[in-house]
Symmetry: D3
Subunit: 299 residues, 6 copies
């Protein structure tokens, strides 16, 4: 199950590097198209899901930074102009999320809905792989971050951005409700309900200051370079700690967000009843006392 | 089911106008009493519920602005001084939410509780009609916004305010816990838990800056006039988009707030499997390319 | 069931005083150890739970302020250096959460997990007693507020802090996921999801300005003294109101945070159907009209 | 809000009588069509919903028996042959639940789905009015009980049947999944999961013995007459008791079916905290001791 | 925390014996009053809760049989005739669940409701202690099993009965809805929804054959003696197995009943990840191969 | 995505045939080992999951029958004797669910728990593939049906059995709580709570009559041959109907089991809003009128 760096080299749309110990850096790598998920997009988002599922079980990885290649965009969304079926017809076209999956042909609306539902669920599962990934994910946004970019960013644990970032829940502008996760996750990661609905209902672009102010990102840095550096620093900080502590923390926060307080506490107790039977706390404490760096076994 | 502007003229306590295409403007219209819901309040809130249920299914309406008539108040709450039974007696009076529903008479506490529960549920359903309304609702608060005003505002999708607004969860000051929605919805629309409990437990008045800072409103404008203008502009923006996209967005955010992430994603997929089989995306994209305004069929 | 001030004097690790009518002030009282919950910590947190359960049903108490004795710390967490079993191992030691790791003696990992689960649940229940307490609790943080301090603070209704406070979700630094409530409650009391995960995954220290900015505390005051004074003032404000209104408000907000909107409204209606059959609203209104202070019967 | 028997005479498709004190008897009254809900079915099921909402708040009614007029059928479902649009076309027809709501016309599939969803929800709400009715409902099935008959029966509290009853979840036979409540409620009222899915997936007809055996009905009586008599006897038994006890019991069972054990217990405590403050228990106990019939105030 | 048999001798209303290794037998011991929970009932049910909480953590106990002393009754419910305040007054009496907690006096209905709610919750917690008990509980019912007896029985894991048992959800006969657990748990332990509502709404007595037929009990035995013997045999069977397997099974079934399938599976995986790290499976398999009895360490 | 019969021939441990149009028959094919999932079991259950995921999206399949090859067993569980690590050691062995996943080696209990949790979740997902499969699954049990057999059977929609079947929730006999689905699903598919807990806590074997009586299976047939024939007949019945109706029914029952009544109704409405826009209802009705067999397009 463990991937090697060699394996990661096979991904076509993503650069994967290991800038420091236990830290993986994933770059969406289609800068000429503003990192849009393109025409043969099925392959691109399938690859995205596959990548994060591999990182999730790769014992050599303890924290992940996700950013976009190039200067102009984290991700400009779906590459709609390359989805010809969207514009060819008004009465029978299948306008799927992501442009694929439907086909239309002679299918009646019920069968097309059946196919579209499967398609959307699969697309959601791929993009959601970063949220399900057992290792923390830090997203760094810059330039254009529209549509699918927000779906992707909402799945990260921590979001940083460059000062020039322009964010947009773009979907209502093409006549649909965002369906790859934004409408579900954005209200859970930003506490300002009025703002969430406003940007989702208007497709208004917002900038980095506003993103900080409402808490969508933790911090804005002057440029992409600084933001990536900051993310890598934060990732290193996480990667130096016991992976049991860090991955347990992600798992328990994920669980708690979707359950009642009592359920969260109960699950936490069952989880930690095993997790604290590790040598890691003793190792951590000893290292602190000796002012040394602790070394933890892989997980 | 489709109402006409003529029908809306029959509402006694609310002005309904159509300032631009597909945008309805509802004014709470009892300015002499600071837009309090008054003595014969049963009628007033029944009318409020009826109005938003009508707007919800009126195909000519795509976005709604809600404000209060006059300069002094969005709404000062319930008109308690006009609820004589509240003050007439200390030992046996029925102090219902909204002043009605109870009656008391010779009823034992159990039967009175039964009647009061029905009454509160009905009152909640009427005020909640704006949240259940399929079209987005933008509330504009100004001047006094006390008690019931907060229940009402929490049901809107987007909240704007004038700089002079004074907000208050007033209920504890009259010895009761707010029961028309504030205590349920405020913690879901504002992420600052400490602040939510503080204002609910103390009935402290807060102003527009604080409202912006905690995210209760999206923006504060200098005066009521500007705030209403801003709301109407935002409503027009929503109304120009495909109603399938906008109304789907509201429905899916509403759903997600009350469900787990996985449930939200699943519901979204089923919803969009039908919703994206519309000509609207093609129309929207074509209009964008041609830099024209898109026209969408009614919904 | 009603405790007297005399009873409260028997608590070994906590000072309990009654600075004004119906307001209790609880101080964590182990300043020499930075108010850490210490070696014989079982006793200390059992006492903490017992204290808040007593306050919960003490009719003479209507609001509670919680702070830490001394200048240096609200609470520095668990007193780990005094937990020798962590690095040596004994046969019968209680391996607390936050105590971490090994020991175990002859127990197999399954039986040890069983015992640890019980232990964590009991610890959670004690610390959670402030959240379950029927009276509102205002926590005042100052100086060091690490680890368990955050678990404790998250259980308060309102949080204030002194400008010098240094906050930290410390647990990942000793190789474990926080299990006494922070990971469950922090995402529910602070709406900035990115920030919550960042501080929980990095154990980064944050200060009072950041605490205000993300909404973890309602306000920061210049020093501990001013913060306690502000908390006592707020507590008095709550204590002067009808206890039915105040305690109902806490109960309903607690309920709503963990339920859907519709469930929250329904529960509220059943609750208030009884609660508004009190003389308190009439008393409150009359007092307001007569510009007198209202007196409410105990609850 | 209180209806009188005169009002009930205005219902076109239902007979409503008052065979004994506080007991209402509702008959589906379209025997010539096997009590199918027919072509102008919108009106028929709207009337059904309206009727049970009226009974719910009619203080003179404490228990309700629901049966079908004539010898041949409780209800044979929807009168599909009278829904011409269903058979006229294969490519564009709108086959709505209940035959209405759709219209089709030139609507695209997304808009049609929007209309159909509203339609189904409204139909569900009407049929579900018996479940939401505050008074217990006893359904008596006989003869044909197909399709909608099962949706209706699942909403009753108690089900009895005549020995000749033929039951069928008919919907898959016309190519759709049952959508007015059967698929949601049947698994909650019958504990035999394998049987539930078998009858729902095959549209197999089952008889009264099987209905008793799996627990779908409480008892089978030799004929319709005896079954109605038994139902009326049971209804009288309920109607003679305190309406607070009976209606509280229905409300709390309804609640518990849809919530966790702890939520059910908590809600029950809040409910009964008011409900047991009635004179009814004392009246009931005194009557029992004096071997007299108790008389309870209306509710 | 571990109780000894000597400690169990101190319970006033319950006999506790240890008829075979690791099997505790609890008898409700007030046969002269048909094992009703009597006037000073607060003490009796507090003792009941205390007893099951002690058994839950007593490592020498692995299975529990619960029955009623004497020939005539498992338990006839609450001893209402000994609750004088119930009959003394019609307008102001407090009829609490269990006869206590209210008091009434000069309390207004809201404060009385507050006290009653606390009282009901505490009563529920005591009776629910058998459900929360980590060890399996087998209830043996005989003779009269009315009212509270059903609340108690629903908390057991397994129910057996003697042929002469007469069961009754008695509460509606005294004008109240059962509030100590029956209405919440009965629909979860018996799959025949129609039957559950019928017996709860009519207070109809049912017998052992019906109890078997609907699945309320697993089996009926000819007499009490045989039923207790069968229960003890079943308890021995459970007690001979690994306590990790048995107690894990109870914990996971309890959890699953109140959660979705996916939540149940997830919790199970976290639970067993620790629980299967015991020597017990190897011991069990080896014992089976060697046709010996396995011995498992205490839990 | 569509598999062909050729593809199905590649499965090593399962026979897949197509005995009639649209009906797949899956046989667990390891009869010499009583169809136990064996030593290299990881591969066997991975294959099982893969098979049902393929069937789920194979448009040529509309109903599935699952049975065991040979005369002696449906499935005797996990082949534990072939899991040497289980018996080799008592202090440090990893006893995983399914015998794999753990490894143990030098892993500390926390890391082992982490690995085991992943392993159990993956095993659950594979066995649960039949429940998640969009097509209905009919399980036919015969001979021995122990341990994993019950996990597998609980995932089927319909269960039939031969008269000779011996069922057993075997896990407590080897010292563990069943973790592949039985404890979660059995209480949801059998309404007799007392029986469910009894068989899970005692590992008592039960027979076909009891299986019918509690509703675990729909019917018992004299022998395996008849049971398979009956299952195939039932599968054909399902396969002849519109796949939209049948698969929608399975999806909606699955959903409703895990949600509240209101959530179930709401989801149903959204689902059917698209699903009933098919030509299938018209085709079905026309065929019925013409007494012909209907032909439905693939799904």
């Amino acid at each position: 199950m463990t991937a090697t760096m060699t394996d990661y080299a096979t991904y076509k749309h993503f650069n994967v590097s290991m800038p420091s110990a236990h830290v993986a850096h994933v770059e969406i790598n289609r800068p000429a198209k503003l990192n849009a998920f393109h025409q043969e997009c099925v392959q691109m988002w399938l690859e995205y899901g596959q990548l994060f599922r591999a990182l999730s079980v790769d014992a050599s990885v303890r924290a992940i930074v996700l950013s976009g290649a190039g200067d102009r965009a984290f991700c400009s969304g779906l590459d709609i102009t390359s989805a010809p079926e969207l514009t060819s017809s008004t009465s029978s076209s299948s306008n799927s999320s992501g442009g694929g999956g439907g086909g239309g042909g002679g299918m009646d609306p019920a069968r097309r809905a059946f196919a579209l539902r499967r398609h959307i669920r699969e697309f959601q599962d791929c993009i959601g792989a970063a949220a399900a990934c057992e290792k923390p994910v830090i997203a760094v946004l810059h330039g254009i971050a529209y549509g699918l970019a927000i779906d992707i960013a909402c799945c990260a644990d921590v979001r940083l951005c460059a000062a020039d970032t322009r964010f947009c829940v773009k979907e209502v502008d093409i006549g649909i409700a965002a369906d790859i996760g934004t409408l579900t996750r954005l209200p859970k990661v930003v506490g300002c309900g009025s703002w969430v609905r406003e940007v989702a209902l208007t497709a208004r672009v917002w900038g980095s200051e506003e993103a900080v102010s409402v808490g969508f990102v933790s911090r804005a840095l002057p440029g992409k370079e600084q933001a990536v550096a900051e993310a890598l620093k934060t990732a290193r900080l996480m990667a130096e700690k016991s992976p049991l502590g860090v991955q347990g923390t992600k798992a328990l926060v994920n669980y708690s967000v979707d359950h009642t307080t009592q359920e969260g506490l109960d699950y936490t107790a069952v989880w930690n009843a095993a997790a604290i039977q590790a040598p890691d706390p003793a190792i951590a404490i000893q290292a602190t006392m000796q002012k040394k760096k602790a070394t933890f076994a892989k997980l």
